[in-house]
């Protein structure tokens, strides 16, 4: 492998994992955020060879068997996705946050997401999505993916996700 190949180029151009996006290419925008050994990094500023022996997680690892993860689901539900270009990076930053902190404060959410720029949404919906995801992750530590049926038009469904399921309602 050429030493000059970035982890971002390796993911997109060699593995065809194109979920990870290139925005600025200099670590400013966060579109290429992946988890390297569980921690968010910008893949444009990591050489592929540096990742040798490390675990790398991308947005492609979120959905299971065609079902979106809870985190992805709340992004959809809250309207945190508009053009969608920044979303994979947003998801990975949020995933990194929820892995180290299952009950983040608003300040902690803002700090964790500050390295991801979005030109469409104005951020409020994104922050709300991460708040809801945190609630959902605490309610369901195994992060069992929601199915289309358990979802609803109202993003608030996640707050009561557990009780809804116990009620046997879909």
């Amino acid at each position: 492998m050429p030493s000059g190949l970035t982890l971002l180029e390796f993911l997109r151009e060699r593995l065809y994992l194109t979920g990870t996006k290139e925005g600025c290419g200099i670590g400013e925008c966060g579109a290429c955020t992946v988890l390297l050994d569980g921690k968010p990094v910008t893949a444009c500023l990591v050489l592929a060879v540096e990742a040798d022996g490390c675990s790398v997680e991308t947005v492609e690892g979120e959905a299971t068997d065609g079902q979106l993860s809870v985190l992805q689901r709340v992004f959809v539900e809250t309207g945190a996705v508009q053009c969608g270009f920044c979303t994979p990076g947003m998801i990975m930053s949020a995933r990194g946050l929820l892995r180290r902190n299952q009950n983040p404060s608003d300040d902690e959410i803002v700090e964790a997401m500050a390295g991801n720029l979005c030109r469409c949404t104005g951020y409020e919906a994104i922050l709300e999505a991460v708040r809801l995801a945190a609630v959902a992750v605490v309610a369901r530590p195994k992060a069992e993916p929601l199915t289309r049926e358990t979802g609803s038009e109202d993003s608030r469904f996640l707050r009561g996700a557990e009780s809804t399921r116990k009620d046997g309602r879909r």
Binding site: S3, G27, E28, G30, P40, T42, V46, L47, E50, G96
Partner: protein, 284 residues
């Protein structure tokens, strides 16, 4: 592709020193890469070989010895410093400076030692480490040497490190009893901008000595002469500090701010910092 270069990942310091010495073109030391890789991409830097020091165990140290002295290895990313509760308790100013740098993603890569070696006048870790009296340890074929941080910076992006020399760790002396520390930075935009000006300081009530250092207001970060607080009032100490800063600073105008703005805003920042440090209960 960022460029054409060879990549080596030694597991020991002697091996790293040998690789740098044997390189038949410009060599660069790769730690977090958040400055270096951006420079290579921008064609401001064109090394033939990158020597990645992150797998050298000796450079991954982050510990406090029994006397309270702190060692930060050259491969330790900023977030590791931030997340260490004992460092936050003992050296709050150090954590404030680290937290003010860039974004979570970059702090998972960028290192304190790399921030210093890049030697930007705006290096955020420099003022607080100067005020804390840190030393930088360096390794080369000739052995190890201690560089007092106050003699590391020699110009814009220039250090007193010799070619082939590797900065290995920072040593921060044990804090005086009750040591307070703090860091303040003026910037246009949180995270995505460098400091317009910055100020850091320490104050030990047990010795009555106030140490201040400032950034982005001269070609290098500046450590000011210590100020004896004694029984002076807060207003008198603030005034002394402001006069010391005004005498030392010689800022430029650039894309971030004019020299006049820097001259106007740094005294405000310094006053605020001094007031915070002198108040019982500590840092900002």
């Amino acid at each position: 592709m960022l460029g054409r270069f060879d990549y080596q990942r030694p597991s020991t310091l002697p091996e790293a020193v040998r690789l740098l010495a044997e390189s038949d073109g410009p060599a660069a030391i790769l730690a977090g890469g958040t400055d270096l890789l951006v420079d290579i991409r921008g064609r401001r830097h064109d090394p033939r070989i990158l020597v990645d020091i992150k797998r050298i165990d000796a450079l991954r140290r982050l510990d406090v010895d029994s006397g309270g002295a702190l060692t930060i290895g050259a491969a330790v990313p900023l977030n590791e410093i931030i997340e260490r509760a004992s460092i936050r308790r003992t050296f709050p100013g150090l954590v404030q400076a680290a937290e003010s740098i860039a974004t979570c993603q970059l702090r998972n890569r960028a290192t304190a030692v790399g921030n210093l070696c890049n030697a930007s006048p705006a290096a955020d870790m420099a003022p607080i480490l100067l005020a804390l009296g840190a030393d930088l340890m360096a390794w080369s074929a000739r052995g190890e040497r201690t560089i007092p941080l106050s003699s590391l910076f020699v110009g814009v992006k220039k250090t007193s490190l010799a070619p082939g020399e590797i900065a290995t760790e920072l040593r921060i002396p044990a804090p005086k009893p009750g040591l307070r520390s703090g860091f303040l930075k003026q910037q246009r935009l949180r995270g995505h901008d460098l400091a317009v000006v910055s100020a850091a300081g320490t104050y030990a009530p047990s010795t009555g000595v106030l140490r201040l250092a400032v950034g982005s207001c001269a070609p290098t970060p500046l450590l000011l002469e210590p100020i004896e607080v004694g029984r002076s009032s807060k207003a008198v100490v603030e005034e002394k500090a402001v006069r010391a800063v005004q005498a030392a600073m010689w800022p430029i105008s650039d894309t971030r701010a004019s020299a006049d703005y820097r001259r106007a805003v740094l005294p405000v920042l310094v006053k605020r910092l001094v007031a915070d440090l002198l108040v019982e209960g500590g840092a900002p």
